[in-house]
Amino acid sequence: MKRLSTFNVTSLTFGFAFLYLPMLLLVIYSFNSSRLVTVWAGFSTQWYGELLRDEAFLSAAWITIKVAVMSSTLATILGTMAAYVLVNSGKFFGRTLFSGMIYAPLVMPEVITGLSLLLLFIGIGLDRGILTIVLAHTTFAMCFVSVVVSSRLVSFDRSLEEAALDLGCTRFDAFRLVTLPIIAPAVISGWLLAFTLSLDDLVIASFVSGPSSTTLPIKIWSSVRLGVTPEINALSTLMIGIVTIGVITASLISKRSAVRAQKDAQAAERSA
């Protein structure tokens, strides 16, 4: 291990403090027994208990999870299909344009995405509710899924699919039995990414949600406008926890399979 210089240690400390101090404060104050958010009065988990008894928060949480599961599943299916076609179809007229258009929503301001979706839903007379949030989240999450899956597909050996065809598979069977199992880690981490994105989203959801479909971020946002309560701190801590677990799981899944493959290959070479 190389020893870090004083300068490196300092910049590292400040950098991470800058990133995580606010969240750390929030987590600490979620265990505060006082009702006043900024005054420490001792350790307590009472706000977590109160949170679990709060019907409004619980229903918002339930809606958020439903939306996240549905939208990330839809986004994974569509995003994987888009990635598969763009990576595998070789050159065709407008290919660059199409792949560019898949990625454009990544950098599109969320306000614009939300507004345009709202206009569309009003235009086609779709009542705002869970369905519209699911559709909106699918729209922007599928770009992320498609990025993750296509980066895996680029290194995918095409001859594996040809071998499947050669051995009697139809194109669909070749995808189902060979391609999909092999790219599964990327598809799963794409799903988890889409899930956490949907869980986090406030801007787009607030455009397309209806009165009966308040998601958790919207609920938090509207409660905070009436003043920050320790309950909100507890809730935010829980959300940080869930998102962290999601992201770590996603990266572990892809990393672990790579490490295991490497180890097995080494073992095989030794035993040969």
């Binding site: 050996d157 071998a163 009697g168 092999i182 095989a268």
Partner: protein, 382 residues
């Protein structure tokens, strides 16, 4: 260990010489274009049942394209390919009685060796009770009995190669295509595997078409070798035929080592010609079945091992030229002498090192005589 190929193979097995024999594969005037690039140029070729047919050529000569057209991964631009008398143009790869062994092996990493081999059988709804026996038979054929439950990344390169072979043979195809099957193996393993391949081909009686850029490999395994260049087959013959009677300088040069002497022909008797090759040099006497006219430009191709080298002037040699040893390449069992002739041309002569190195009497800068018979070389137009 595999049995060596019988020496009489060339004489016994020659369906291509039998006009009544029906070819298994028939390329009829096949052309394949990728955009403006012509990969296969109006090519016609028959391949017979139980043949071990090698497509040999430098990269980009179209050999892989030919194979991919047989497998169904590429369509022909014009012409037709027949398999057992049927045009296969519109048959998709999964409906062809053709299997392929890929250069990268393309083993399914998420399936065990057993499941890899069973994969094609399962797609065909192979009866469940017979499936196990068939896979076991394939594992036995390729000596993989112990590895059925391993995943492809848990076995060595040579074993992976055998899994790929077992998988492509499991469905009992009429035709097996092998794309550089031994390219990823090291030299020693490759030589062993060549014999194994021949053995398996003989045992199963399957027609093999192999693509390779390794001429030694093609010569070892194949019953016939097709030398390709720029989308055309230049020559098709048995390994012996390709080596001893190449039809062009390209083939002679591609297969093994060769000396090419350029000159003009002058008839010197029945099937015999004098080749004028240098100013103030005695013409070379060479026999040829191919007719040449007086003064026609020609190339004499002689293999280095057919030229002998001596210090003293040989008596009664049909062709003998004096030169100077420029270089000696010592290969252990053989030595190749580079002899510079008075005109500046360099001729390679090869001798077996039957004596110990210290007793060798020819060394650098020595004046030497090289000699060869009239029948040693092949006279070529181009």
């Amino acid at each position: 260990m595999a049995k060596p190929k019988p020496d009489t193979w060339d004489n016994q097995f020659a369906p291509w010489d039998n006009p009544n024999e029906k070819p298994l594969i028939r390329f009829k005037d096949v052309t394949k274009r990728f955009g403006d690039f012509v990969a296969i140029d109006s090519l016609s070729q028959d391949i017979y049942e139980k043949e071990f047919f090698a497509l040999l050529g430098p990269s980009g000569c179209g050999k892989t394209t030919m194979m991919r057209m047989l497998a169904g991964f590429e369509n022909v631009s014009s012409g037709s390919i027949e398999l057992a008398g049927q045009d296969i143009a519109n048959v998709p790869p999964n409906k062809r009685a053709v299997n392929m062994m890929f250069q990268s092996y393309a083993l399914f990493p998420h399936l065990s060796v057993y499941e890899n081999i069973a994969f094609g059988l399962r797609r065909d709804k192979f009866p469940k009770d017979k499936l196990d026996a068939r896979v076991a038979e394939m594992l036995k054929l390729t000596r993989l009995e112990k590895f059925g439950r391993r995943k492809p990344h848990q076995i060595s390169g040579g074993q992976r190669q055998r899994v790929a072979l077992a998988r492509s043979l499991a469905k009992g195809p009429k035709l097996l295509l092998l794309d550089e099957p031994l390219g990823a193996l090291d030299k020693k393993l490759r030589q062993e595997t060549q014999f194994e391949l021949m053995d398996i081909q003989e045992t199963t009686g399957t027609t093999f078409v192999i693509v390779t850029h390794d001429q030694e490999e093609a010569m070892t395994v194949a019953s016939r070798v097709a030398v390709m260049d720029e989308g055309r087959i230049i020559q098709v013959a048995t390994p012996g035929g390709i080596y001893e009677a190449p039809n062009s300088v390209y083939v002679a040069d591609f297969i093994g080592d060769v000396n090419i002497i350029k000159g003009t022909a002058k008839p010197a008797g029945p099937d015999q010609y004098f080749v004028d090759w240098g100013v103030n040099q005695a013409p070379i006497l060479a026999t040829s079945d191919r007719p040449f006219t007086d003064g026609q430009e020609c190339h004499l191709a002689i293999r280095p091992e057919k030229i002998s080298i001596t210090k003293a002037k040989p008596d009664e040699a049909e062709n003998a030229v004096q030169g100077k040893v420029l270089d000696i390449a010592y290969l252990g069992n053989l030595s190749t002498y580079h002899v510079e002739l008075p005109g500046g041309q360099i001729i390679k002569a090869q001798t077996a090192n039957t004596r110990r190195l210290s007793r060798r009497d020819i060394t650098w800068e020595d004046p030497v005589w090289i000699r060869w018979n009239a029948t040693a070389g092949v006279l070529l137009e181009r």
